[in-house]
């Protein structure tokens, strides 16, 4: 494997992947900019969307840290693998189901909530749990021999926040780049030609994450 760098690269990669998904925000931002005929709106809308997504990932971090208080890392990896497998299978056959959230006239607060809801309902947080556990695992390794769980909790939390920031940064960058390219170069026609079934890819990604979690637990 990639050693201690692996989980961080995974957080980065998942961030880019989440950013690319039209259902996670860049398309919403683009449409708002087009509707209001102001390019600035596109870029400004991406910020609350990224923040809402980050909150969903933070929720996963909190659950991971709480989980590690209760069970061992390996056990949590197995649990994660099982949950990802179940949810991935559910999404595979229900990939078209999205939360009902009617609204085009939205402000920053709405976009924040929308993004949080979409990320959570689609399991964006769950998808990155194996990577978060990898980060936690490498910390445990680094801290092996040291005593005192409380210290670990605080610094662990900070490191996790770093992972969330990396993930969100990558997501924001990819969202912005995608929106920019569609806005400046391709135009909306690309939606007809290139909008592959991202929901189906997403379901497969959840299953891949399940396999990764299982492999991590196994080794």
């Amino acid at each position: 494997m990639l050693g201690p760098l692996g989980p961080w690269l995974a957080m980065l990669g998942f961030g880019a992947f989440h950013g690319l998904n039209p259902g996670m925000g860049w398309l919403f931002a683009l449409s708002l900019g087009l509707q209001q005929q102001r390019e600035r709106v596109i870029w400004l809308s991406l910020l609350p969307i990224a923040a809402g997504h980050a909150l969903a990932i933070c929720l996963a971090v909190v659950l991971v840290l709480l989980g590690l208080q209760v069970v061992s890392l390996t056990a949590l990896q197995w649990i994660t693998a099982g949950m990802l497998l179940l949810f991935g299978l559910y999404k595979l056959f229900n990939y078209y189901r999205h939360p009902r959230w009617v609204g085009m006239k939205v402000g920053a607060r709405d976009l924040f909530l929308w993004s949080f809801l979409m990320a959570t309902a689609h399991g964006a947080g769950l998808m990155v749990v194996p990577a978060l556990l990898g980060v936690a695992g490498s910390m445990e390794g680094a801290h092996a021999g040291h005593a005192g769980h409380a210290g670990d909790g605080t610094s662990g939390g900070l490191v996790m926040l770093g992972a969330v920031a990396l993930h969100t940064g990558a997501m924001l960058l990819v969202m912005g780049a995608t929106a920019w390219i569609v806005y400046r170069r391709f135009g909306l026609a690309i939606l007809r030609q290139r909008w592959v079934n991202f929901d189906l890819i997403w379901a497969v990604a959840l299953l891949v994450a399940a396999v990764i979690a299982a492999l991590m637990a196994w080794s």
Binding site: P22, S31, Y96, W101, K105, L188, L191, W195, V196, N197
Partner: protein
């Protein structure tokens, strides 16, 4: 049946949808209710000018029940599936959602694998529809971004209101439930559509089932008891936000046609008849200082007529009212088509300036007094322009002649049959009847037309 790319008939914007290939066939609601012992059904009409069966019925799908009374219907999915907040672009425009307005039964009709041989794939029985939605007499169907929306004319139990809107699941076609959370004093229902980018729904008023099912009730009309208001709703909160009364004399506010460009916040509503002078009118809704306003932008006067030429319902008036029953707006928001079912005329207005419509073209066919024939039909024609449908590119307009079974019999008492015609549109304005296109359905009457791949009253767009 998962699609890898979006359904090719979905377009992000109305402008792009206008580049769509021409329609090759139409689905037409066919009615035998009140005429004979045959069930209603869907007829497939060949619209491909290169086909040997051009302008002919190439397939007849009969429903398994009698007396459903088909009226309006719509597609399960359309371009609104691309809307960014709930995108599911890999849904297919495949099923027709076909309500029986008399039976309250809903048919889901599959247009695949052979689009010219559609099949019934699901039937929602009246008991189930009424129990789950709280409504009866389903009417308009619109493919929304998050569900299929259906308007209904009456409450579940009985012949009165309130009528309203209920939702169908996009994927399973299960009735989800009523749409409204707070309906205020809205009670009468008919048509609805929306400004998706504004989170606004607009609904209109016809009357209760008691007021239309057995025919137009003259006392109710003269008593100004039919609908004369238009309602604006918060689409997100599912709550009534504003009601505009057009005045009691403006009886029956029917079709609603919002601009297709999501940046525009105006639309047109048609009023059937004024009890003051029998005129019909078209109203423009638009926003001013954060609230909605309505202006009357078109008035169509009645035409004087001999009492001998008039049906019993109109004898006392000495004039034939235009009876505007349907209107339709081209995808570029430029031309508004207005059906004058009473006088037998289809009007085309240039509404580039929506406040100042200009009459750009006109065709005459049928009509209570004139009974104007079609070049392909030797006999005088009964009925008049009614349900209008515009091709996505705006170059062709199709229309049929039946309004509603019992009302047909009142205004055209000489056993009106069904026909469908086509109008060619000059891109700069002006319309003429296609002399080669006349579909004679015989005794069967025909109502709404839906075109392959979508039309001007199906798709809504979230991108300009």
């Amino acid at each position: 049946m998962a699609l890898w790319k979006p359904d090719p008939s979905f377009y992000p914007s109305a402008k792009m949808a206008m580049q769509a290939p021409p329609e090759r066939h139409a689905y037409v609601a066919a009615l035998n209710t009140g005429r004979n012992d045959q069930p209603d059904g869907i007829r497939v009409v060949d619209l491909d000018p290169h086909s040997s069966s051009y302008g002919e019925v190439v397939h007849a799908l009969d429903l398994p029940h009698l007396d459903d009374e088909l009226h309006h219907f719509g597609w399960n999915a359309c371009s609104s599936a691309l809307c960014p907040y709930a995108p599911h672009p890999h849904l297919e425009r495949r099923y027709l959602v076909v309500p029986g307005i008399r039976s309250s039964r809903l048919y889901i009709i599959d247009t695949k694998p052979d689009p010219r041989r559609p099949r019934i794939t699901k039937v929602i029985e009246p008991e189930e529809m009424m129990a789950k939605s709280g409504y009866s007499r389903p009417h308009t169907v619109h493919c929304g971004p998050d569900a299929i929306y259906v308007s209904a004319m009456g409450s579940a139990n009985g012949d009165e209101g309130p009528g309203g809107i209920f939702l169908l699941d996009h994927f399973s076609f299960e009735v989800i439930g009523p749409w409204e959370l707070d309906r205020g004093d809205q009670s009468l229902a008919y048509d609805f559509w929306w400004h998706l980018a504004q989170d606004v729904m607009v609904t209109s008023e016809w009357g209760t089932p008691r007021q239309f099912e057995n025919g137009l009730v003259p006392e109710e009309l003269l008593g100004q008891k039919y609908g004369h208001r238009i309602h604006f709703w918060d689409l997100r909160k599912r709550k009534l936000s504003q009601t505009i009364d057009l005045g009691k004399q403006h009886q029956m506010v029917l079709e609603l046609r919002p601009a297709h460009d999501p940046r525009k916040t105006y639309g047109f509503a048609g009023v059937v008849v004024s009890t003051e002078d029998l005129s019909a009118s078209i109203w423009l809704w638009h926003q001013k200082g954060g609230t909605w306003q309505m202006d009357k932008v078109i008035t169509i006067p009645p035409e004087p007529a001999d009492a001998d030429d008039l049906p019993p319902a109109l004898k006392d008036f000495g004039a034939v009212p235009p009876l505007v029953s349907d209107i339709d707006l081209s995808l570029d928001d430029r031309f508004l088509y207005v059906s004058c079912w009473g006088t037998g005329e289809l009007h085309q207005y240039d509404v580039s300036d929506p406040f100042k419509p200009k009459l750009a073209g006109k065709v005459a066919i049928g009509g209570i007094v004139n009974k104007a024939p079609h070049p392909k039909s030797a006999d005088p024609l009964l009925g008049g322009p009614q349900m209008v449908e515009i091709s996505r590119d705006g170059r062709r307009v199709y229309f049929t002649n039946s309004l509603y079974s019992t009302w047909d019999d009142q205004f055209y008492p000489d056993r009106m049959g069904g026909w469908m015609v086509k109008v060619d549109v000059d891109p700069d304005g002006g319309i003429q009847l296609d002399p080669d296109f006349f579909v004679d359905f015989g005794e069967t009457r025909v109502h709404q037309v839906r075109l392959e791949g979508g039309d001007a009253s199906t798709d809504s767009f979230c991108y300009p």
